[in-house]
Amino acid sequence: MTHPEMNELYELYLLGALEPELAREIETHINEQCVYCRERLEEAAVVTAAMNGMAEEKRPPKHLRARVLASVRAPKPAVNWFYALGALAAACLMLVIYAGWSINTARTLREQIGALTVERDQLRSAVEVLSRPDTRMVQFGAPAAPQGRVFLSRNGVVFAGSRLPQLASDKTFQLWLVPAQGAPQSAGVFRANAAGNFVNVVSRPLDLSRIQAVAVSVEPSQGSAAPTTKPILVVSLG
């Protein structure tokens, strides 16, 4: 195709009105950096843009100008603030979660340390009771009934065994030192594990000559000053 032939086609090319073969031919020629064609194409673009004059004039609504301008002004700060606030909110949320996690973790650790400390102290006391030369042991129990051993010394009592029944969550076992005369003295509260095994250590000076028995009763979870129920177990030390 010659330049004079193409001269009449540039507008049609820009409008997309040419048959595909002609359009491809012109496009290939333009891409070969033909200066003449590029200049004619630029002129053709002015003609096609001016064809806008065929449209009946319509006055845009007055609000459209403000809408267009708002769309280019508002987004930048709005988007920045949006992301800034979002990032801040996310950071605060993370901080709260971390703080909550830290507090819960610290509380859990404190509780675990407290429980371990109690167990350690009980073990120390138990070892001290069991290792004294004056310690004596009383065995108790019967088939299908709680059974175990009571270790007694002047420094305390170790009461250990198995087959104690499961209790409701608001109940506990309470060990009593029963004297020949007078009211039973509390020797602490304890619970059995899921298998019914138990250990209770009493670490305080005792007058063994006055204690004739140990007994276990079921009491409210915080313990009682005196037995409130009939003992489920009585071990005579005589």
């Binding site: 409008l15 009105a17 630029e42 673009a45 002015v46 806008n52 004059g53 845009p60 100008r65 267009v68």
Partner: protein, 187 residues
């Protein structure tokens, strides 16, 4: 922004993020673009959306435009026509999902030189005068090509006329427009 800023200055200011320059561009070409969108889409609401999208494109992509080459109106109205025809051809949802990227339109492959008449609105007036001299068939063929995006073959089918006849009408009509704007085809 002075009303008589030339196209190159206008584009340079838009490139620098001057909202007043965009306002000036809107004042200069907003009505022509809106008229074009309404004519092609026949939907005033959609035309408002398209006008907004058009000037957003100018705002966001002004850096791709060479301000030394002017003719902002030619660029805007060429892009506007492509957008409107795309809109009509596409489902609204497809339109909203993403308009055809600017760099896929023919308009970006073209540069415009300052020696061309700068204000395409003035050209439009000259085109109106030339259009008034066209016979109805010539005008109809041009309208179908420009507003509907039809090829010459499609126009021939639409008007139930031989392709050669349609080509002849369009050749004559375009020659009148060239003369009105440039004084005719360059040798």
């Amino acid at each position: 922004m002075a009303a008589d800023d030339n196209e190159a200055d206008l584009v340079e200011k838009v490139r620098n993020g001057d909202p007043q320059a965009l306002a000036a561009a809107y004042d200069r070409y907003g009505k022509a673009a809106y008229s074009l969108f309404v004519r092609i889409t026949r939907d005033h609401g959609a035309s408002e959306d398209l006008v907004q999208e058009l000037f957003l494109r100018l705002w966001n992509r002004a850096h791709q435009f060479d301000p030394g080459r002017g003719a902002l109106g030619v660029w805007l109205l060429s892009v506007a026509r492509n957008m409107a025809i795309d809109y009509v051809r596409s489902a609204r949802t497809k339109f909203q999902a993403g308009l055809r990227p600017l760099d896929q339109t023919k308009t970006t492959a073209i540069s415009y030189k300052p020696r061309e008449p700068e204000n395409v609105i003035d050209n439009a007036k000259a085109v109106r005068e030339a259009l008034a001299q066209l016979n109805p068939n010539q005008r109809k063929a041009l309208e179908l090509a420009y507003f509907e995006g039809f090829s010459q073959a499609e126009i021939a089918a639409q008007l139930s006329e031989p392709l050669g006849t349609v080509k002849s009408w369009m050749r004559s009509a375009l020659e009148r427009l060239r003369k009105a704007i440039h004084g005719g085809v360059k040798p």
